[in-house]
Symmetry: C2
Subunit: 699 residues, 2 copies
C-alpha cells in the first residue's frame, strides 16, 4: 500500500497530448498537484507529453517504477499489466473501464487481470475507477477536474460519480482531504485494505466511505473494528432496500448483502452509518474540525425560541441529553442577559442579541461541567449584526476543548457569516436538527471508542466428534436436511439443553419413561403415517401423573383409531413439558459476512412484529448482551407485568454456543431453534425444536 499512496516514481501508461483525454488529464493533475517524485508518460504515439519525455512502453523507462497508472483501453490492459509486472512495478491503478461492470466478458478479462497481479505481487486499485489522491504526498492521480485541498478527511468511494460529487461539494466549503480513493471494481484493493492503511495514517482524522457492496465482508468488519477504536469511520451504504439493491447491481455488479446484516456489522464494528450523502457531508465536517465531546450534555444557545424548540425536538429524536446547568452557570448567565432571556436550556438570548451576548452565553455554558458540547442557533432578525456574531463564535474554533457547531438558519442574509464560520472551521448546518445529528454522531463515536475490548471468546468445551458423526451420517444418506433428533444431537454436543425424551411401545413402559423424565410431560403418537399429529388428537400436553398418563394414552389412541383407522402406530413419544418464554435463536450464513446469528421473541414477535436482532459470529458476551437487550420486547424476558425474570444469562450462553458452533462447523449452512424456552431465573433454557441444514460435501 505504501507504493500505491506514496510512490517515489510513477508512470502514466496511456498518457496523451489530447487535453480532452483522460490520459492527459491524469498526467496534468499529477504535475499540477506538485508531485515531487519521478514521473514518466508512456505511449508509443508520442515522444513527449506535457513537457515530459514519453516512452513507447514502460520497459523502456529508465530506472525502477513503483507505481503505474493505466489508462489504455480495456483490451490492452492485460498486456500493459504484464509489462508492469516484468518491470517490477509494485502497485497499479487501473483507470480503464470495460471489466466486470459490463458483463460476463468483462468479468473474465478482470479475472485474468487478477491472475497477472497475483503472479507479480502487484497491488491493484480499480479497474473502472477515478484514481487516487494523496494530498500530503502532493499526488493527484485522478482525472477529476476539481483538485482536493489538503486536509484530514480520507474518502473511499465505490462510485466514481460520488467521488466527483464529494470533491465538488468540498470545493464549496473549507474542507480538505488527506487521501481520496476511488476503489472502482475492487479487484484487489478494497475498503478492508484502506482501513488498515488509514488507521495508522497520521494525516487522517476521519474516514468517510461510500459502499455499495462488500465482497470480503468479514475482513471489512475486522479492520473496521480495529479502526474505530482509533478514529471515526462514517459509512454510507447504498442499495439499502430491494429496489436500491437492484440499481446497485446493475451498476457495478456489486452483490449487496441484506441491509439488516450490514446494520449489524457496522454496529458491531463501531462504524457510524449514515442514510444519505448530505448526512455524510455533515458528519465529516464535524469530525474533521471539532474535538470529540467528553460527556453527554448538550447546551443550546439561540436568539429565536422557535429554533430552540426544533433543536430540543431533535435532541430527543437522536437520544441526546439536554444539559442541566449548575446554579452558578444560571447566575452567571443572568449577569449579561436581559430579563426576557431564558436562562435554562435552550438559552434564549432573545431576538436583539448581539455578539457580546452570544459570547457570554457560549463561554458560560462551555465552563459548565454538565455541558459536553454546544449548538449555537441564529435566526436573521433585523436587530442582529449577524457577521459580528459569527466572528465572535469563530474564537471557539480550535481553542475550545468542547465541540461547538452552529446553525445560522436562513438564506441570502446568512451567506457571509456562514462563510466566515466555515473558514474558521466551525461547521454550520442549515437546520438545527442537522447540527444535533452531527453532535449525536460524535457522541456515538466517542462511546464506541470507549467500548470494551472484544472479550477473548472463551471456547466452551464441545464434542466436535459427535457433530462430525451426525453430519457424515446425514451426508452418507444423501441428505442436507437433518431430522429434529439429529439437530438436537448437535445442540447437545455444544451443551445446549434439549428436553428429556424417549419412545415407548406400550403404556407401562410409557409410564416408566414419564417417571424417569419427571412430570409434567407431553405425549405424542408415533406413526410413520401421521404427519400432523395434533389434527388427529395425537398430542396431549401437560400430563401431570401416572393416572393422567393412563387416561391420556387411552384417549389418544382411540382418537387416532377413530380418525385414521389405517395408520400404523409404532408407539408413543414422551417428552418433558417445558415452560417458559418462547424465543428464537437462528443462524444463516451470509455470502459476505459469514454466520449471522438472529435472535428474537418467538411467534408473533418475530412473524408479525419483526422484532428481531442480528449479530455476526464470532460474538463475545458483551455483544450478545447488547443483542438481547436491543429487542423491543426485551422487558418480556426480565419480568415485565409483575412476572419473575427469565434466565437471561443462560439464554446468552446458548447464543454464544451457537456462535461457536457456526464458526467451528462451516458445513452447517443454517440452524434454527424455534422455540427455545427461557425458564425463570436460574432454571436454564431449553431448545425444544431444532432445524439444521448442512452444505453438500462438494461445496
Amino acid at each position: 500500500m505504501r507504493e500505491l499512496f506514496e510512490p517515489a516514481s510513477v508512470a502514466v501508461i496511456g498518457a496523451s497530448q489530447d487535453d480532452n483525454k483522460v490520459g492527459h488529464i491524469i498526467l496534468r493533475n499529477i504535475i499540477e498537484s506538485g508531485f515531487k517524485g519521478e514521473l514518466h508518460p508512456v505511449n508509443p504515439r508520442y515522444q513527449e507529453v506535457l513537457g515530459l519525455r514519453c516512452y513507447p512502453t514502460i520497459k523502456e523507462v529508465p530506472g525502477s517504477i513503483e507505481m503505474a497508472v493505466i489508462v489504455v483501453p480495456a483490451k490492452f490492459v492485460l498486456q500493459v499489466m504484464e509489462e508492469c509486472g516484468e518491470k517490477g512495478v509494485k502497485a497499479v491503478i487501473v483507470i480503464s473501464a470495460g471489466f466486470k461492470e459490463v458483463g460476463l466478458e468483462g468479468a473474465q478479462l478482470e479475472m485474468r487481470l487478477g491472475e497477472i497481479s497475483k503472479k507479480y505481487g502487484m497491488r491493484v486499485l480499480g479497474p473502472n475507477c477515478l484514481g487516487l489522491v494523496n494530498t500530503h504526498h502532493h499526488m493527484n492521480a485522478t482525472f477529476a477536474n476539481e483538485a482536493p485541498k489538503q486536509g484530514n478527511i480520507a474518502i473511499s468511494s465505490q462510485s466514481g460519480a460520488i467521488c466527483v460529487v464529494v470533491l465538488d461539494w468540498a470545493a464549496n466549503i473549507n474542507i480538505g482531504f488527506s487521501k481520496f480513493v476511488s476503489v472502482g471494481n475492487k479487484l484487489d484493493v478494497d475498503e478492508g485494505h484502506l482501513l488498515e492503511y488509514l488507521r495508522d495514517d497520521p494525516e487522517t482524522k476521519v474516514i468517510g466511505m461510500y459502499i455499495e457492496g462488500a465482497d470480503r465482508g468479514r475482513e471489512f468488519l475486522r479492520q473496521a473494528e480495529l479502526t474505530t477504536r482509533v478514529k471515526p469511520v462514517i459509512a454510507l451504504k447504498a442499495g439499502r432496500t430491494s429496489s436500491g439493491a437492484k440499481a446497485a447491481s446493475s451498476h457495478t455488479g456489486a452483490m449487496s448483502g441484506s441491509d439488516k446484516v450490514y446494520d449489524a456489522a457496522m454496529r458491531q464494528a463501531g462504524v457510524v452509518r449514515v442514510k444519505n450523502i448530505e448526512e455524510l457531508f455533515d458528519l465529516l465536517q464535524a469530525f474533521s474540525t471539532m474535538p470529540l465531546p467528553q460527556g453527554e450534555g448538550v447546551a443550546i444557545v439561540t436568539n429565536a425560541g422557535g429554533l430552540g424548540v426544533m433543536a430540543a425536538d431533535a435532541c430527543s429524536d437522536f437520544g441526546l441529553t439536554m444539559a442541566t446547568f449548575e446554579a452558578s452557570t444560571v447566575e452567571k448567565l443572568k449577569l449579561k442577559l436581559p430579563t426576557a432571556a431564558s436562562l435554562y436550556n435552550p438559552i434564549d438570548v432573545v431576538g436583539d442579541a448581539d455578539a457580546e451576548r452570544y459570547d457570554h452565553a457560549v463561554r458560560t455554558v462551555m465552563d459548565d461541567p454538565n455541558v459536553a458540547c454546544v449548538l449555537a442557533l441564529l435566526a436573521p432578525t433585523d436587530l442582529v449584526d449577524i457577521t459580528s456574531v459569527a466572528r465572535t463564535l469563530t474564537a471557539f474554533a480550535g481553542s475550545s476543548p468542547k465541540p461547538i457547531v452552529t446553525s445560522f438558519v436562513g438564506g441570502k442574509g446568512m451567506m457571509r457569516s456562514i462563510d466566515m464560520l466555515k473558514a474558521a472551521g466551525i461547521p454550520n448546518y442549515p437546520s438545527p436538527d442537522r447540527g444535533i445529528r452531527a453532535l449525536s454522531a460524535m457522541m456515538e463515536h466517542r462511546r464506541s471508542m470507549e467500548r470494551a475490548e472484544p472479550l477473548s471468546i472463551k471456547h466452551l468445551e464441545a464434542d466436535q466428534e459427535a457433530v462430525d458423526d451426525v453430519i457424515s451420517s446425514v451426508r452418507a444418506e444423501g441428505r442436507l436436511q437433518l431430522s429434529e433428533a439429529e439437530g438436537k444431537r448437535i445442540l447437545r454436543a455444544y451443551g445446549i439443553v434439549t428436553p428429556k425424551e424417549g419412545i415407548a411401545q406400550d403404556l407401562p413402559s410409557a409410564i416408566e419413561l414419564a417417571d424417569s423424565i419427571g412430570y409434567p410431560v407431553v405425549m405424542k403418537v408415533e406413526s410413520p403415517d401421521i404427519a400432523h399429529k395434533t389434527d388427529v388428537g395425537g398430542v396431549v400436553l401437560n400430563i401431570d401423573s401416572p393416572e393422567e398418563m393412563a387416561r391420556s394414552y387411552e384417549i389418544m389412541l382411540s382418537n387416532v383409531r377413530e380418525k385414521m383407522p389405517r395408520a400404523r402406530v409404532t408407539g408413543v413419544s414422551v417428552q418433558k413439558m417445558i415452560k417458559g418464554r418462547e424465543v428464537i435463536v437462528g443462524m444463516v450464513r451470509d455470502e459476505q459476512f459469514g454466520p449471522v446469528i438472529t435472535f428474537g421473541l418467538g411467534g408473533i414477535f418475530v412473524e408479525i412484529m419483526r422484532d428481531v436482532t442480528q449479530g455476526i459470529a464470532p460474538l463475545d458476551r458483551n455483544e450478545v448482551g447488547r443483542m438481547v437487550r436491543s429487542i423491543k420486547a426485551y422487558p418480556m424476558l426480565t419480568g415485565a407485568r409483575g412476572r419473575i425474570s427469565g434466565d437471561v444469562p443462560a439464554l446468552v450462553d446458548v447464543i454464544l454456543k451457537v456462535s461457536q458452533l457456526s464458526m467451528e462447523f462451516p458445513s452447517i449452512e443454517e440452524l434454527e431453534m424455534n422455540p427455545v424456552m427461557v425458564g425463570n431465573e436460574g432454571t436454564g433454557v431449553t431448545a425444544v425444536d431444532a432445524l439444521v441444514t448442512i452444505k453438500g460435501e462438494q461445496q
Copy 2:
C-alpha cells in the same frame, strides 16, 4: 378577515421618524410595498413621518380606518385599542410584545386586550408578532427587512423568527408568497381562521404553517379537513417531544398537546406533516411550482449509478413505487442512449451524458403511462456540460402535466445550473432523497384530496337516559370513578356487549345461573373483604358443565376458607367465559382536540410494544377502519398464523360507539375497555372490563 388582509385604509399607531424603530420600519415597508390605499401614521410626538402627515391619535385621522397596526409599548396598547374601537377600526395588528409570553401580568393585560376587541368586534392579529404581508394587495405590514416576492405560497408562523428565516431563505431562490402571517400569541386570529380564509384565496396554491401549539385544536382540525380537499397544507409542529415542548412553553406560553394526538389530528385532516424546517422549504417549493402527480410510478434518470441507488433507497423508505416502463418506452430509450446505459428504472444515461440524452430520456419516460413523476439526477462529471443539461430540463417547467424535480448533487460546479433550474421553477434538491421526499408528499396530498368525503356519522340509537342516570347517581355519592358494573351499564346503553353475568348465594342458584348464561363460564368469589380474588384461589376460569361447577364451587370455597378464614363470603359471581383476541379501546379528553380514541392490541402489545393508534372523535367508519388497520399487529386480528379472522367489523362498530358516546357525554372524562375480546368472524366482540371516570359537576 377581509379588512385584515385587504384594508382600504391603514393607520400605523406608534409610527416613528427614527429609522431604527419598528414603528418606522413598518410604515416604510407598507409604503415601499406599493400599498394603494389610505395610509396614516399616528404618533403625538410628530407632525409628519416619512412624508405623511402624522396624527396625535387615531381619532384625529380624517375618514374611516379599516385596519390599524399597533406598535406602541405594551402598557399603552389598551388605550390605543379603545381608541381604535371608538374609531370603528375593523381589524388590528398588535406588533407590541410584553403580553402572555412574559408571564402572569402580561397574560392579564392580554385578557383585557381580548375584552376590548370583543366589545368593538375587532379582529386582532398578535400581539407579539411580526405583522402580515399580502403581496397581491401590495401591503407589507411587517418589520422584516426582507420583502417577500409575489407568489403562490401562504405562510403562517407562530414564531416571528421563523418568519424571518423563511423570508431570508426565499430571497435566495425563486419563490414567492401570496400571504405571510405572523400569528404571535394568537389572542384572536389563529391557524383555524387563516385556513378558512386561505382556502378560497385564489392567489394561494399551497399553505405552509409553523405551529407550536393550538388552543382551538378542534376548529383547526375542522378547517384543515376542509382545506386539504382543495389545496395542500404543510405543517411543521415544533415542541414534538417533552424537551421540545418545555422550550415551546417557555417561549410563547403555548400549550403543546401530546405529539401523538397532533399526529392523529393532522393525518385525519389530510395535512402533510414535516419534521424540520428544511423539509418544509423543500415541500413548499415542489407544491408551489409543480402539478400534482396523477398516479404512483416514479421514474429516475441519472448520469451516475450511485445517485440512482440512493434515490431508489429513498423510494423504498418513503413507500413510493418505482415505475415499470412499457416495452415501447424501453425501445424508444434505446434509440438514443449508448449501450452502457441502463434502460430500466433508474435509467442510467451514463457519465458522459449530454443535454440531448437527458432530454430524450426524460421526454420518453414522461410519455409512459406508468410514470407519474420524474426525478432527474446529475453528478458533475468532467464530461458533462451541466448548464446545458439544466437548460434542457427547464423546458419541462410549466409545460409538462407531470411533475419533475431534480437533484444536481455537488457544490461549486453546480451553482449556476441550480440557479437556472430554480429561476425556471424546477425545484432542485441537494440530495436525491430530498427530491423523493418532495414527490412522496405530493402523492400523499393527492391521495388525501381523493379521500372519501367524511361519512355522515350514522347516529346509532343509544339509551342516553340510562347513561344520565348512572352519572347522576355516581355524582350523588360524590364519586368521579365508576365501578365496573356502572361502567358496563353505560357501555350497554350504547349497544356494546358485555358478558352475561350474575350473582348467586349458593351452589344450586349458581348452577341455575350458569345454565341460563350458557357454558363455559367464569366463577369468582364475592366478598367485601377480598380484593385480590386470584391470590386466594377465588377465581375459576373456563367451567364447562354443572358437574365442573359443583366441583369448582367446593374447591374455591375451601381455598378461600383456608387462606382467608375470616373473610365474609356473600356468594359467587358467574360470568360468561369470553374467548377471542384481546384488544384495548379507550378514550381520553385532550385539552386542545377533545375526545381522543385509542386502539391497540391488549397486554404486551400496548404496554411493551407501544403498538397503538389514535383518532379524534367524531370518527367515521372510514377513519376507524384506517385506525384498526394501522397497528403493526393488525394481522393478529385477521387470521395470521392460520387462524380464523376476528370479527373486525364488530370491533369497528364498538369504536364508533365509543366515539359517539364521547361526543354526546362531555362529562365522561376518560374511558377504558381493557380487554375487549374480539371473537371469530361473525361472533361479535365483548367488553370484559370497563373503567370510566367522569368530571365533577362544577367543571
